[in-house]
Amino acid sequence: MAKGIKDKVAIIGTGVTKFGEIWEKDEEDLLVEAVYEACSNGNVDLQKDVEAVWIGTQYPFSGVSGGAFTEPLKCFGKPVTHCENFCATGMDSVKNAAFAVAAGVHDIVLACGVEKILDMGSRGLPGLGSPHPLTVGMSMPAMFGICANRAFKEWGWTEEDLARVPVKNHHHGAKHPKAHFRREIDLQTALKAPVIAYPLKLYDCCAMSDGSAAVILTRPEIARDLVGSGNYATIKGIGHAVHSLNPFSRPDFTGLSFPSNVRAAQMAFQEAGITNPRRELDFGIVHDCFSINELLSYQDIGLCKYGEAAGLVREGVTSIEGQFPINPDGGLKCFGHPIGATGVRMIVELTRQVLGKAEGYQVKDARAGFAHNLGGPFTTSMVTVVGKPDWEAGG
């Protein structure tokens, strides 16, 4: 019987660059900055102490193979694995790095991610690039626009319900020093913005941003030696499920719920011993690439019943001042979504929140929280729970 990962892996170092349109820097600049910051506050030496590396990048122009890491850092001769798993690319690097530590194969490892989206142009993510000329694909907002129209039909949600999500996340991100967008917006601004993929408008969609993030992982007993107790968090559970690449042809596609989400959340919460995430955890980071995705994912993750997510935002429950803050960092809405970096950055945010180091956007009394990605055409979903080392579910 597998024993799971709970409390076997400690996060001791975190690094994150400023996210945004970073024209003057390339993936090398960003990766070096994030990795050195993580090593520095993890109190490890990259060349001497780090035994193995996982790097997440989605697009070939941000790097290919393990060389995407070795060349920028000039850090050679270690096992380096390149991860790619749509929008969960970064979090999947963390997962694999954590598994290596939990398995006892390595003591100190690095998981990092970087994406230089702007180097490919600023007009939306390059398509998923169906190689099949007759399945010409659709833009990411189009995929979620299709879902939003179903939600409007099924539950009577409105464009205003969607717009409240970016208004909330901008309210949060305005206080985060590394965010791409650091300003509040009002509902009218969001509602009057141009349509990107009906009914999704500009503020329903996360921006095109560059960025990098890194974490150092080790075993808790080593963590105590390196950074001292109180300065590291532990992983409580990781769930990951990959579903269809072609959801729109499936007879069971509803546009209202994504099986990968449901399964990933179940796996992560079960491992962490959580039966009611909204009661037992203190906050969450939900993949708000599009406003509708934040809402639909609340439901799949189990924060509320189906159809109720819009109400949760309307009532302020998921605001940073609310009962269960979601995306206290500002989310993808304020950070943009450099694919390889996003999931790693979320783990950085979880760690900083539970260590009380989220200055300016700190969730009050945060002891444990979860982060969530949903990538591709609802294909790959990950949920990771991080908490203080002594945190136990049920509280």
């Binding site: 190689p131 299709i146 499936r250």
Partner: protein, 475 residues
């Protein structure tokens, strides 16, 4: 006796007021409107539509020969009829021929069809004529031309109209012409072309035809003729000595324009749709000579009515609001994404003809789910290699949709101004697929809206025209 056993037509959704063209280019208006193929249509796609219409109550596997007649094939070297045959799901051993380069090609194809059936080498021959002729902007042809297609199924079983005589006349008159490298047709001397071309050839061919059939002009209920310009119809009526008001079939100039190769066949179909049994009709083409044939309708003419959309497509239309938009439809859409070019595999297109062009899905033998595209493992129960291929329905309704401003139709990067409507569609047979939408307005698209598949140019990547299926509002 050999005859027409089914017919079908296609006229694209879009119309342009000639007055709007005239205003935009500073010319006189020829009045009325013309049919305009959408930016994702050409003579090949329209031929598929007319063929589908013609075969709506015929098993496509019974077709032995298909002739595609056009002066505007989208391909200079590469057969169009083989792809048309595939899209129509004809048999693999169907005989395919493109007959090109003259607006007389449609009637020449028809004569070949009749000969094949008479000789016993084929039982059913599908003749499709289709044109989407390029016209020099601001030229009179820009107003005169219209886009459309006509299809006739020729055979011996229960014809709706017997083909009783045929006369052909070849005439090496110089104009008009279009060389390999010309974008638009040229002509040297319109008056010569008129007086020594159409006004000589068509009456001569019709006269010889009638003589051969032992018929007189006054016995003919309808003349379905082609003239390269509207004035020719008046002249021909006078020369032939017919009562134009009663006997000349409406040239459809006011509504769709002169379609070229398909035109006289389209007019014949228009006449057949209104005909009673026992009527004699003459159809005559023009283009470096003239072919004329005479048909007599049978009792079966009543039974076929309503089975096809036919020229009903004429009254199903939307106006293009401006000359600018019209030009946009007519331009060569060369915009293509560099990234897309890298990612597109012609090999996959070739390999997946069964679902991509022939429009088959798979039905799982284990759980019974009808699904698309064809894949080794069932998307519902994951059963491996346990399915049968099933021809899918062409009509369905929208399950959900979006208007995508970020990625254009056919994988072209969106410009933020023009949306590509994308729809998940539940077909009538229960299969679900997703498609881009054509011919729609943004406002009309709703969940549960009825749609039908339409054969279109999906994309041009790496210089190759990829054809496949989109959906459109039901016409």
């Amino acid at each position: 006796m050999v005859g027409i056993i089914s017919y079908g037509a296609y006229v694209p959704m879009w119309r342009m007021e000639r007055g709007e063209i005239a205003k935009a280019v500073g010319a006189m208006s020829a009045g009325g409107s013309r049919a305009v193929a959408s930016w994702d249509e050409d003579s090949l796609t329209m031929a598929v539509e007319a063929g589908l219409d013609c075969l709506s109550s015929v098993d496509p596997k019974e077709i032995d020969v298909i002739h595609f007649a056009t002066v505007s094939s989208p391909l200079k070297e590469k057969q169009a009829s083989s792809l048309i045959a595939s899209a129509l799901d004809l048999r693999e051993n169907v005989r395919t021929t493109d007959m090109t380069d003259s607006t007389r090609a449609g009637t020449m194809a028809l004569q070949s069809a009749v000969d094949a059936v008479k000789s016993g080498s084929a039982r059913k021959v599908l003749v499709i004529a289709s044109d989407c002729r390029p016209a020099m902007p601001a030229s009179e042809f820009e107003q005169v031309y219209g886009d459309g297609a006509a299809a006739l199924l020729i055979g011996e079983e229960d014809p709706v109209a017997r083909i009783e005589g045929f006369y052909t006349l070849s005439d090496a008159i110089p104009g008009p012409w279009r060389r390999e490298t010309d974008l638009f047709p040229k002509r040297f001397e319109a008056k010569l072309d008129r007086n020594y071309g159409i006004l000589k050839d068509v009456p001569q061919a019709v006269g010889e035809l009638l003589k051969g059939c032992g018929a007189e002009v006054k016995e003919i209920s309808k003349f379905a003729l082609y003239s390269p310009d509207p004035r020719g119809y008046l002249n021909l009526s006078q020369i032939l000595g017919m009562d134009a008001g009663r006997q000349l079939e409406n040239p459809l100039f006011d509504t769709i324009g002169l379609t070229g190769t398909p035109h006289c066949l389209l007019l014949l179909i228009y006449a057949l749709e209104k005909a009673k049994p026992g009527q004699r009709m003459v159809c005559a083409s023009y283009g470096e000579g003239s072919d004329a044939f005479l048909v007599t309708t049978t009792e079966k003419i009543e039974a076929i009515k309503g089975k096809q959309k036919g020229t009903g497509y004429i009254s199903s239309f939307r106006m293009i609001e401006s000359y600018g938009r019209f030009s946009d439809f007519k331009k060569v859409p060369e915009a293509e994404s560099a990234a897309g070019a890298e990612m597109t595999s012609l090999v996959k297109y070739w390999r997946d003809e069964k679902w991509g062009i022939r429009h088959y899905g798979m039905k799982c033998n284990n759980c019974g789910t009808l699904q698309y595209p064809i894949s080794r493992c069932c998307m519902v129960c994951s059963a491996k290699d346990n399915y049968r291929e099933v021809k899918l329905a062409r009509r369905g309704k929208v399950f959900s949709f979006t208007h995508d401003y970020l990625l254009g139709c056919g994988g072209v990067p969106g410009d933020g101004l023009h949306a590509c409507t994308r729809a998940i569609v539940d077909l009538e047979d229960g299969c679900r697929l997703w498609r881009e939408m054509s011919d729609n307005t943004l406002q009309e698209v709703k969940i549960d809206m009825p749609v039908e598949l339409t054969f279109r140019l999906i994309r041009r990547t790496g210089g190759f025209p990829y054809y496949g299926w989109r959906v459109r509002p039901v016409r």
